[in-house]
């Protein structure tokens, strides 16, 4: 199985210039954007009937690796600055189009049946609790690690907390949605995901524990038009839509935090 090729389907190379010709816009977006971007894409396509928006959702680091390997897309939306900066350094994106469009925060989730009887964050350090996290190569995995380090510096948790938490980690998934799935299925006792992953649908099966601000890591989501975008004009219009009031409203409905205004 080679899942990283899933997103590599090329949009049609030659587009008929006739006004009714359908244009395919390919958007590579972080897995945590799956629901919100699907809705944005639907609205954008409704406003622009000549455009079909095609998404590839995966871990940001995976998308960046695909782009480096020559995958064709028009838009890249990452769940952290690191992958966007790497893409910028490799001249994969048009630098003037890079803008933060949303922010996200972490939350601890557990199955509604709560097999490990999790009541507070400190329960995550109790021996035998099965915690599922994303790999540290995935943005949410890195944020989760920083969260645990911040907790360990707090006397309420103590320096041993980090060691105990890490000893409880049963798997390091390759994207945030796998963490969610394993908690929803009740295979893991707890997981660290983004607030936005707990959709109304997921909330039927999982409960969540808020992570206070002093430990929480705020994820910034940058978006950019790719340097080799087959549809650069449509890509810019899509990005403008994401950054517009309508786009921001959809993101807010999906519990994203507003990005600090960067003068766009």
């Amino acid at each position: 199985m080679l899942p990283w090729f899933l997103g590599c389907s090329k949009p049609p190379a030659a587009v008929d210039p006739a006004p009714l010709a359908r244009t395919t816009l390919t958007v590579f977006a972080a897995a945590s954007l799956a629901e919100s971007f699907a809705e944005i894409g639907k609205k954008f396509a409704a406003d622009n009937p000549e455009v079909t928006v095609q998404f590839s959702f995966a871990g940001s680091q995976q998308l960046r690796a695909q782009l480096e390997s020559g995958a064709q897309a028009d838009i890249f939306a990452s769940a952290n600055e690191k992958e966007m900066n790497a893409a910028k350094a490799d001249s994969l994106v048009q630098p003037d189009t890079v803008h933060d469009f949303a922010r996200n925060r972490l939350v601890v989730i557990y199955p509604a049946s709560n097999p490990a009887k999790i009541g507070t964050l400190s329960d995550l350090g109790r021996a035998g609790v099965k915690i599922d996290v994303a790999d540290v190569s995935v943005p949410v995995g890195k944020y989760g690690q920083q969260m645990v380090e911040a907790m360990a510096r707090d006397p309420d948790f103590g320096p041993d907390f980090e060691k105990c938490f890490l000893a409880n980690v049963v798997s390091r998934e390759e994207n945030v949605k796998s963490v969610l799935s394993k908690v929803r299925l009740g295979e893991a006792d707890a997981g660290v995901v983004y607030v936005t992953d707990v959709t109304p649908d997921a909330a039927k099966e999982v409960a969540s524990l808020d992570v206070p601000d002093q430990f929480n890591q705020i994820a910034s989501y940058p978006i950019a038009v790719l340097a080799k975008a087959p549809q650069p004009d449509w890509a810019r219009r899509f990005e403008d839509y994401v950054l517009s009031g309508d786009g921001r409203n959809i993101l807010r409905e999906h519990h994203f935090l507003a990005a600090p205004s960067d003068g766009h």
């Binding site: 199985m1 990283w4 871990g59 680091q61 995976q62 960046r64 690796a65 097999p115 099965k130 599922d132 790999d135 190569s137 980690v169 049963v170 798997s171 390091r172 998934e173 390759e174 394993k182 299925l185 009740g186 295979e187 893991a188």
Partner: protein
């Protein structure tokens, strides 16, 4: 599985006394060879390209790192365990399939083909639904205090599920092709049922069993999709070489390349070793 192979070289010896290896019985083979070339190139070039990206210095620098060493060790022992389980339980099954005559044999054969055609990710989800904490059987096990997902046991189960059909199919063909006349003759000479199996059937089918075992072992070593879903990904516990290649592709391409090269060498080595071993005997 491993019958007489059709090679121009062999044919040339048999039919045209080695005069020209592309011309047999007056027919030119060039059109066929040209048509066969694209697929052959597709199979040969990528492994060569992969190996060409690795320098010995890089290989030895990465092979000693703990992440790589852990993945190799885990892959080797879990795949060996899958192979042992497959031989232990697969041989009787192969014997039944190869030599038995019963109603529903076709159905059984289809069931055994099933893991081969099933996408491994589907196998992973199916295993989770079976042996997960809330699974069909896993639910009982969990109540008894046994939890399989996220453990090396889950890795072994995933590998066995996906890889065992290769051995069973090869073994049933081999065991089934032992002639009944020879067995009857041995019985006439007073050989017991067990003697007939170990002294007649087993040696005659040995080659098929070994080829099947090698295929199963290679497939188990390469298992990815079912493992990452059912067993998860944890270094030293469930992160086998293919998982480390996948994760490494995004973090450290050199680590991924080193592991990929090792996997390639092991699987090639297995297939070549067996062929060489048999051509000597």
């Amino acid at each position: 599985m491993d019958g007489e192979h059709f090679t121009p070289a062999r044919l040339s010896r048999g039919r045209s006394k080695g005069r020209s290896w592309v011309r047999f019985g007056g027919t030119s083979w060039w059109p066929l060879i040209l048509l066969a070339f694209p697929l052959l190139a597709l199979m040969v070039v990528p492994p060569v390209a992969l190996l060409s990206k690795i320098s010995p210095a890089m290989f030895f620098r990465y092979v000693g790192t703990s992440a790589v060493a852990q993945a190799i060790l885990l892959s080797l022992w879990t795949s060996a365990a899958s192979l042992a389980i497959t031989i232990l339980f697969g041989t009787p099954l192969a014997y039944i399939l190869g030599r038995g005559r019963f109603v529903g044999k076709n159905v059984l054969e289809v069931l055994i083909d099933w893991p081969i055609v099933l996408p491994p990710a589907v196998a992973g989800i199916a295993l989770l639904m079976t042996l997960g904490r809330r699974g069909l059987i896993g639910g009982w096990l969990a109540r008894a205090g046994v939890e399989i997902p996220f453990t090396p046991i889950a890795v072994i189960i995933a590998q066995t599920f996906v890889a065992c059909p290769y051995y069973i199919k090869a073994a049933s063909l081999g065991l089934g092709s032992v002639s009944q006349e020879i067995l009857d003759a041995a019985a006439l000479d007073g050989a017991s049922r067990l003697q007939r199996f170990f002294d007649v059937t087993f040696p005659l089918a040995f080659r098929s069993l070994v080829v099947g075992a090698a295929l199963t072992w290679s497939r188990a070593l390469g298992e990815f999709g079912a493992t990452i879903i059912f067993a998860g990904n944890y270094p030293g516990r469930t992160q086998t070489m293919p998982l480390a290649v996948y994760i490494g592709f995004e973090i450290d391409i050199h680590q991924a390349l080193t592991l990929a090269a090792i996997l390639l060498i092991i699987s090639f080595g297995l297939l070549i070793g067996i062929r060489a071993g048999f051509s000597k005997t």
